[in-house]
Amino acid sequence: MLRIENLSKHFGGVKAVQDVSFTIREGSIHSVIGPNGAGKTTLFNLITGVYAPTTGRIVLGNDDVGGLSPDALARRGMSRTFQNLQVCMNMTAIDNVMVGAHLSLNQSLFAAMLRLPSIRRADAACRDEAARLMEFVGVGQHVDAHASEMSYGALKRLEIARALAARPRVLLLDEPAAGLNHTETGEIETLIRKVAQSGVTVVLVEHDMKLVMNLSDHILVLDYGKKLAEGTAAEVRANPDVVAAYLGAAA
């Protein structure tokens, strides 16, 4: 459902992503791994429209969506979380999740100022759904909390709840386990599997190899902005280039 063709992104002389191609099948969990600075987050930012590609195509469904703005991509079912948390600390936890449902709600200024019954009803339903999503990702006890009162681990889950509130077709998770301890990582693994089972295609950037190997249907290995290898967990693990560039160095 998502096809990347010969994608490149240059920042001045720095070639952060070079000629990368791969395909993501609907309903799968697809991981992107690679050493620090390999271009994983840049790749995410390209796919979600935060950056425009220098060259290459990003095909979602049947359309080339390369260079579209993030909000246009969100309209096409793309959602993501961030490596460095992007939770709105000026809002309550549940309002953060409700923001995720923005596109499905009435955006009229006047209807909002008059608080028309339709707005009130839709908001109440949205709030219930947001509470359910908070429960789903395991932060149900924070349903009345302000975002600034929550722990780091809870905020990571809250971001996932916000992303799910958009009812995405594709969910990109940028290092969901970063900064989490062993137990929390295990819980995140369970959660990602639950998300995938609910029918959302998951693309994952992650440094935790155990998590990646456990979850992924398909793995893409980047190194210095280029594709180094691609395949199932077993294939990638057995690839001597990958072992040399990444797994070997990490072990």
Binding site: G49, V50, P70, M89, L103, R120, E149, G153, T183, E187
Partner: protein, 328 residues
């Protein structure tokens, strides 16, 4: 605190405000105090609009007095020179101000950073220069007289009627603002403040929402300017000047960013203050600056949010490692 906004019932703060506004005239001893209360209400209306832009959306305007002045002069010029009915003049001023704000905001808000602050600073100065120089319409620095306000043929006279009008408008604007904040649009605005990239990724067209709230706050300022002009009966270019813009920003910051009731409190305190500081004649702006600095240092969230936070007992956040016993 949190769930006040979620229910279908009326916001309790709005009821308290209505009560205060209803009881106040019984307590005000004479016309002078009515006058102060009316000025507070008009300022509060502008400040609520400005707070939607500054406190909630995180965009700073240093030229809102310019929009206030545009409304005031549109009403003054159109009613006294061209004989328009006040309501029509007010509407024309609001539409013109809205269009000007739209024209400015569309290109400026596409850019990142504090470009809006600089652009509004420039626009405010231009508006006040134009008002100063176009003496054949505005009377220039000498100011101009404005006729009284008649709404659909009924003349508003006396401090009691003006108070009723000002109180009703303040209540209405407060209700609008509270509704707006607790809506998809309001959450989008706050999300833009919290994280622009996250807002865009969930599908919020950030430029469009920033433009809309900017235009809304400019129109609110313009309407308040129009009514103030009729109330005061005589306007000068200072109304549109830079110092007045700074006063409005100070009211937002002192009362509390992202707090509707903070806006009202900020407007009340800083409207009362010059009355008390008449001894410092000529030094008011220094006192304003000092208040702004002291607020930034001691109450960076402003009065109402800081007090609300203090009154609401918060257990200290548990350490990170102990938190996650959530189970999924």
């Amino acid at each position: 605190m949190k769930n006040l906004f979620s229910g279908r019932s009326v916001h309790p703060g709005l009821l308290i405000l209505a009560l205060v506004l209803a009881v106040l005239p019984l307590l005000l001893p004479n016309a002078y105090y009515f006058d102060v209360a009316i000025r507070i209400a008009f300022n509060a209306i502008v400040v609520i609009g400005l707070n939607l832009l500054m406190g909630y959306t995180g965009q700073i305007s240093l030229g809102h007095a310019g929009f206030f002045g545009l409304g005031a002069y549109a009403s003054a010029v159109l009613t006294s020179l061209y004989g328009w009915p006040p309501v029509a003049a007010m509407a024309a001023g609001a539409v013109a101000t809205g269009l000007l704000a739209l024209l400015l905001a569309r290109p400026v808000l596409k850019l990142k950073g504090h470009t809006l602050a600089m652009a509004t600073l420039g626009l405010g100065i231009i508006i006040s220069i134009v008002i100063n120089n176009e003496t054949q319409w505005t009377g220039g620095p000498d100011g101009m007289a404005v006729s009284g306000l008649s709404l659909f043929g009924v003349e508003v006279t006396g401090e009691k009627q003006w108070y009723a009008l000002a109180a009703a408008l303040l209540l209405l604007v407060t209700w609008f603002a509270l509704n707006l904040i607790n809506s998809p649009v309001g959450r989008a605005l706050q999300a833009i403040h919290g994280s622009e990239v996250a807002s865009r990724v969930v599908g919020i067209d950030t430029t469009r929402f920033k433009v809309r709230v900017f235009v809304l706050s400019a129109v609110v300022a313009s309407v308040a300017g129009s009514i103030s002009a009729h109330y005061i009966g005589f306007i000068t270019p200072n109304m549109a000047g830079f110092f007045h813009s700074i006063e409005l920003v100070t009211m937002v910051v002192v009362g509390g960013m992202a707090s509707v009731f903070g806006s009202i409190l900020g407007a009340a305190l800083l409207t009362l203050l010059p009355q008390m500081l008449s001894a410092f004649e000529g030094w008011e702006i220094v006192v304003f600056g000092a208040i702004l600095m002291a607020t930034m240092i001691f109450l960076p969230k402003g009065l109402v949010p800081s007090l609300a936070r203090r009154s609401r007992k918060q257990p200290p956040a548990p350490p990170l490692a102990l938190v996650k016993k959530t189970g999924s």
